[in-house]
Symmetry: C2
Subunit: 186 residues, 2 copies
DNA sequence: CCGGTTTAGGAACGATCGTTCTTGACTGAT
DNA sequence: ATCAGTCAAGAACGATCGTTCCTAAACCGG
């Protein structure tokens, strides 16, 4: 019973994640959210409790439905270059890693819940690179370095703005880490 | 003539840079600044014009006086592992790259002035890695990837919080990029 | 058709933001 | 001693922030 809601909760969470990934958390106001998400303030607070509640929901949804598939795809890549390419190119002009990037830099140092989510994602990425493409990336330290490199490449791509993007750099890195695996695709 | 100021302008800019590097731009309020910098609101606006003016001054000062020496030190490193180590360990618990990191992620996409500063720094880092340590890192794409990796390693270090830091990962990356240069130091 | 329930619409709240203003204290030169 | 000029101290401004409240509209089972 009750009036039917004029919005789709999942769609709201997805759009919120997109907004938080594009601008920063503080760069998105409640007015922005209610204007772009098609949800009313009342419902927003009813469902998510607070702005931070919506943010956490968006972060968790995005990790579960966007980043996890990406990590699976990385684990199934044929070689390291393809894995890197998959990590850096999302649908549209952004990568699935962008929201994680923002969370890691802005909130993780001061918010343990966000930090837990971020470290879980990054650890999963490490693991995907371990059991993944070329069969084995030998040391944990090197896997961690490669995950960090993916973040850095995506970070730099955000400021470069020109499309001369990170794929070439990522491919170069992959090629140099494993030159014994010739990859004519890039 | 006039009353002598009770603060050192350079010290104000340095402290502001430290604050902006630790918390985000939006995470530092004017009240925070006047409370921690020992400068009065009036003088702040007299000298820097606005919060953004102070931020730009802090960013430029930090680039000139903290990042540039770091880049020189990187260019003079003996091998890549040492260069990476120098890049990732600043005085105290933070790296000189942190403010650049924040600027790149938060402001560069929407602020051309910040973007120019950031790309200049990153390009200089690329160049330092080119003419630097091991004599030559072959392709520009790989140099860009390595610079991005430094950013990513530092980014991840901020959320890890435990001291198991990025030096090991950076060393592993350096060792794998140039295994022909044995480096017993790490 | 009616009471109960949930949402939409939008005004309104206190708090905080960046910024400006007013007043008085201190200084060097006349 | 006086005046002009700079800074300190802090109140105050309008705007915007996240959040709450109130009322009307839309659906449900009786």
């Amino acid at each position: 019973m009750g009036r039917p809601r004029g919005f789709d909760e999942t769609e709201v969470v997805r759009a919120a994640a997109a907004l938080f990934a594009h601008r920063a958390y503080d760069g998105v106001s409640i007015d922005d959210l209610v204007a772009h998400l098609g949800i009313h303030r009342n419902s927003l607070y009813k469902i998510f409790g607070s702005k931070r509640g919506l943010y956490m929901a968006a972060l968790r949804w995005h990790v579960e439905n966007q980043v996890r598939p990406l990590i699976l795809a990385i684990g199934e890549a044929n070689d390291l270059a393809e894995a890197v390419r998959r990590a850096l190119t999302g649908q549209g002009d952004s990568s699935a890693l962008d929201l994680v990037l923002m969370a890691a830099l802005e909130h993780a140092p001061a918010d343990p819940e966000v930090a837990a989510e971020v470290t879980a994602v990054l650890d999963a990425l490490d693991e995907a690179l371990a059991i993944g493409p070329t069969g084995a990336i030998p040391t944990p330290a090197l896997r961690g370095a490669l995950t960090s490199s993916l973040l850095g490449l995506r970070l730099r791509a955000r400021t470069a703005s020109s499309g001369a993007g990170p794929e070439q750099a990522g491919a170069a890195l992959a090629r140099h880490l494993f030159p014994h695996n010739p990859d004519p695709s890039l």
